[in-house]
Symmetry: C2
Subunit: 134 residues, 2 copies
């Protein structure tokens, strides 16, 4: 498999761990280093494995957590770092997500996740939203 395909597979494994509510798989997709970062939609950034994984375990333990599908993946690979920009489909709407992967011990592992909502089509601004400009 090409690095591009391996990164896409790592990205898919992240969303599968989410959908399957599988904390072991979720732990497995993240980097073993303490350098990981995570921005959940609207949250302040989380820093380091303990904070980031604790947030994911809380989400996975929530029985009301949605099914989430990932589509429209754009992949960029440069050596041992890569990132995927994709759309997350949730029942309540769409998110944009940036997932950054580093090659560790021959495997592509997640080092940063940043997600935020996409404004619904009807509300989608042609210009930057007011909060961006006022």
């Amino acid at each position: 498999m090409s690095d591009r395909d391996l990164v896409l597979a790592a990205n898919a494994a992240f969303y599968r761990a989410f959908c399957d509510r599988d904390p072991v798989a979720m732990e497995g997709v993240w980097s073993r280093t303490d350098e990981v970062l995570c921005v959940h939609p609207g949250w302040r950034a989380l820093y380091g494995r303990d904070e980031v994984l604790a947030s994911w375990f809380a989400i996975l333990a929530n029985p009301d957590a949605p099914r989430i599908d990932c589509r429209d993946e754009e992949v960029r690979v440069h050596g041992d770092l890569a990132f995927v920009l994709c759309i997350e489909d949730l029942p309540g709407g769409e998110m944009s997500a940036t997932n950054v992967f580093a090659r560790e011990e021959g495997a592509w592992r997640l080092v940063h996740h940043h997600a935020g909502p996409i404004a619904p089509e009807d509300d989608e601004p042609e210009e930057p939203p007011p909060g961006f400009l006022n």
Copy 2:
């Protein structure tokens, strides 16, 4: 300068171009390739230099565009790709931003920008926001 310092300088140049309303400087901080991506807060992703730069030129041409300050930069460098997670301070609130840089022709250039609002402190959820879970 270390790569870390050079990436921080490239990140600072991006925000300086924004604050100075300088389209030439803004064009200069972005990768010369067509691989660039950009997610403005709430927008759908933009793909490629033409779309991304056109969005920035429109923002820079807007006389009401805010001053923006960048702080709390977290930098990760892996070979020829690096990223910065930082907080953007705007008069109307705070954003989280992920900026990804690639080394091109010896210079660190922006290949991806993803920004989204941080919920105000009073509203900040302990659990994921409802839109994330319903």
